[in-house]
Amino acid sequence: MMRADGMWQRTRRRFLAETAALAGAATLGLDSHPAGATPASMQAAIRNVTGEAKLNKGKVKIDVPALIENGNAVPLTVSCESPMTQEDHVKTIHVFTEKNPQPNVVGVNLGPRAGRASVSTRIRLADTQKIVAVAQMSDGSFWSDEVEVIVTLAACLEGA
């Protein structure tokens, strides 16, 4: 790094910035940087389900802790208001994330036999991000909810 003063300072600053970024990425456990989901790819995944149909806000509720202890197993419940009758029920529920390596999480088929439109599972979250749930009703309409969650890490990370 033997250069004129000006060049050395810029290079050192960049080096520090890059190291900090690497350290940051390392603490997130992302040793490689796969092309992750982005808000755009999440929108594309959602459109895959809804097509050109309008996405209404409401009727769907995502239940997830606001502050996550560990992104490896996050409890998630998605429920929809619906009488779950033959004439009026939830057909499908899909869940998406914005910053995981890929945007899909789970997709379930329900129907009047479900009795209640509520599904729970445990998911992985790579980072603090948005979760979106989309439900399709028997009349073909789409409804959604979205939440922002904060993901923390264990204080002492495992080495070997």
């Binding site: 802790p65 502050l67 560990n70 409890p75 923390t152 890490l153 204080a155 002492c156």
Partner: protein, 258 residues
């Protein structure tokens, strides 16, 4: 028992080492109490706790004939629900032949080698963890009860010294976090008191079952201190001290922890 233990602490450690105050017995809390409501729910429901798969595996292994003499654990120990009740709560325990305490995983391997004439299971292997989880589960709810006598005292002392010594690049001791600053936050996560009430645990960070020794090695790594290989006497001494420090607290095996 508690009075004797208290005397032991003051007599042995009182003046000897200038150290932080231990957590008073009445103020001890399991790591369970520092977890989110949802993580606690995972531990409370045997059909939602992934560690139960290992307990079921352990139950199968208990019946499996193995080794040169083709014997199973059950052949000598019968129904684990009776014979193993309270056993894990007493471990690590002094082994007369070896002249020092050994932990439950080591005890299982001693049995495998001597009674079954089978190859000992590797540390952290699926089988060894499953048996430790199964045997530990038979003590669930029972109070931890570590022997405190002339034989175990020197090893308790070593374990305690390891707990309070500053070490590693951060010059940090276990006690500084887990005796002095439990309940405070470190990088957003609450610091528990460090009682090994539920081992082997399903740690969300590992997404699998793991032993106390694995957790201790993690901690030492996190402190940027020299770690010890699995089965090292240093780790067993520390395990012994930690279990003694948690005396009277109920066993939770298999616990879930973040």
């Amino acid at each position: 028992m508690i009075a004797a233990a208290a005397l032991f602490v003051t007599a042995l450690f009182g003046a000897a080492v200038a150290n932080a105050a231990e957590v008073p017995l009445a103020e001890r809390k399991s790591g369970y109490e520092f977890m989110a409501r949802e993580t606690r729910a995972m531990q409370d429901d045997d059909t939602a706790n992934p560690a139960m798969f290992s307990v079921l595996d352990g139950e199968t292994l208990w019946q499996r004939k193995d080794g040169a003499v083709a014997k199973s654990c059950a052949d000598c120990h019968d129904d684990a629900r009776t014979s193993m009740k309270g056993v894990a709560a007493r471990y690590p325990a002094f082994d007369a032949a070896l002249g020092r305490p050994i932990d439950l995983e080591q005890r299982v391997n001693v049995c495998r080698a001597e009674k079954q004439q089978a190859t000992p299971f590797a540390f952290e292997s699926k089988e060894l963890l499953a048996l430790a989880a199964y045997i530990g589960n038979q003590s669930r709810g029972l109070p931890i009860d570590i022997a405190d006598d002339e034989r175990t005292r020197p090893f308790l002392q070593t374990g305690r010294e390891m707990f309070i010594q500053r070490q590693g690049q951060l010059n940090l001791s276990c006690a500084q976090c887990h005796d002095d600053n439990w309940g405070q936050k470190l990088a957003g996560a609450p610091i528990p008191q460090g009682h090994p009430t539920g081992y082997p645990i399903y740690r969300l960070d590992w997404q699998t079952l793991g032993s106390l020794q694995r957790r201790l090695r993690n901690c030492l790594f996190g402190m940027r201190a020299v770690s010890y290989p699995y089965g090292a006497s240093e780790l067993v001494d520390l395990e012994l001290y930690l279990m003694w420090r948690a005396r009277g607290m109920p066993v939770e095996t298999p616990a879930v922890r973040p």
